[in-house]
Symmetry: C2
Subunit: 251 residues, 2 copies
């Protein structure tokens, strides 16, 4: 049985609490959140605290799920000593955690929102730890919820996080721009949803290189010029140009 | 029974042939392709020709599925008169079709590849025609394979096609860039696939505006600067900058 305390109860904290609660090998002793209104735990095995001084000192691992820029200050305030403290962030190095603790990382490579259920079994868990035994424990913890647990250094994780920004935040911004483009003519964004699904689905079995089609790929300058003339907003134009150039240069 | 001739047998032509062949209300009389090696029809109700002079003259509708830039020249060569001739392209206006015919458009808003099965039921079919009766026939034809048939003018379709480039070609290019970024450190693109799926899935129920997260959204300039310093290639940097700016400006 791995005893866990979850520190922070936003999207990641809540999803982790839920999946660990449903996992036989894990006992979530406690959830900490400075925001008491979030304390809707719905179970008796886990206590809740909003006081940093009341954090349970008997856990095997403390999992921090708070905003990136708060990790450093928060871990410096923890009244724990030489405990395994891990954060869950893609963008933050392991050494942001106070060196009074045994440091580690438990990064589920996924986007979480309150509205959506997630299947942890398919989410890669990227783990890192200073000590060998801690890495073993994190691997065991990861395997209790996911089929894919990988050892990833802070350097590698920074690279993964950069790549993740492209396929998550930037892809979503492209969805947003296309919604704007349709709205301008009173057209419904719903029309594009099957195309959005299929584009993402294709990549499961076909490489991005093999999947590519469209005007930039086939060097159709007439269509590219027509598109540029249709775009009304400078920022949209910059996005159009930079991605068109990126596709063209691959040839 | 709607009698159809399909002109062109690439990805779109083949998928249309397959779905119409499986549809009781439609009879595919003939498939034309200048490339005879493509003639693997596997059914007896449809003949094949590679000669433009042998195209069957008794169909209710002729569906052109050839490259965009060939539509104009090709339809001028057709030895048909006053027939309903439609193309299947998002990026081409209806009047690219020779005016010797009754012109129309039958545009399935989806990306097609040989490797992937598609479910036409959920694909929006955008139709347009010069004459009311032809529009009715295209609507009937569309409804025989899809639950979503919409009247879309050439102007609107151009706008949809522009938006489609953003969510299909450009999204795929972002997948490609992120694959490049991972490869640089010997990391496996497979790691990102659950995130890619979830990003596309989220948009089904949540608006792009509500789905957005990440450094640009939360104004995390430290991470943005770190990312910029990690990017080695000028084109990737331009893509990073233009999309970051586009997210930032929404605030």
């Amino acid at each position: 049985m791995i005893r866990v305390v979850i520190l922070g109860f936003g999207n990641v904290g809540q999803h982790l609490h839920k999946v660990f609660h449903d996992t036989k090998e894990v006992h979530v002793l406690q959830v900490y959140s400075r925001n008491t209104t979030k304390a809707s735990l719905n179970n008796t095995e886990t206590t809740f605290t909003s006081k940093i001084t009341d954090i349970d000192k008997t856990a095997d691992v403390y999992i921090i799920a708070i905003p990136d820029d708060a990790i450093k200050t928060f871990t410096a305030q923890l009244q724990l000593k030489n405990k395994l403290v891990v954060h869950t962030s893609g963008g933050v190095a392991m050494d942001a955690i106070s060196n009074k603790q045994r440091r580690g990382v438990f990064y589920p490579l996924q986007t979480f929102s309150k509205e959506t259920e997630v299947d942890f079994k398919i989410i890669p868990i990227c783990i890192e730890a200073e000590e060998g035994n801690d890495l073993k424990l994190l691997r065991k913890l990861g395997k209790s919820i996911s089929n894919k647990v990988v050892d990833i250094s802070s350097n590698e994780r920074a690279q993964i996080h950069l790549a993740a920004v492209f396929v998550n935040n930037f892809v979503n911004e492209l969805y947003h721009i296309s919604e704007d483009i349709l709205k301008e003519k009173g057209l419904d964004f719903e029309l594009l949803k099957p195309l959005i699904s299929e584009t993402a689905k294709k990549i499961k079995t076909l490489s991005p290189s093999k999947s590519q089609t469209g005007p930039a790929k086939r060097g159709d300058t007439a269509t590219i010029e027509k598109h540029k003339s249709m775009i009304k907003h400078k920022l949209q134009e910059e996005v159009y140009k930079s991605l068109t150039k990126s596709i063209e240069e691959r040839k």
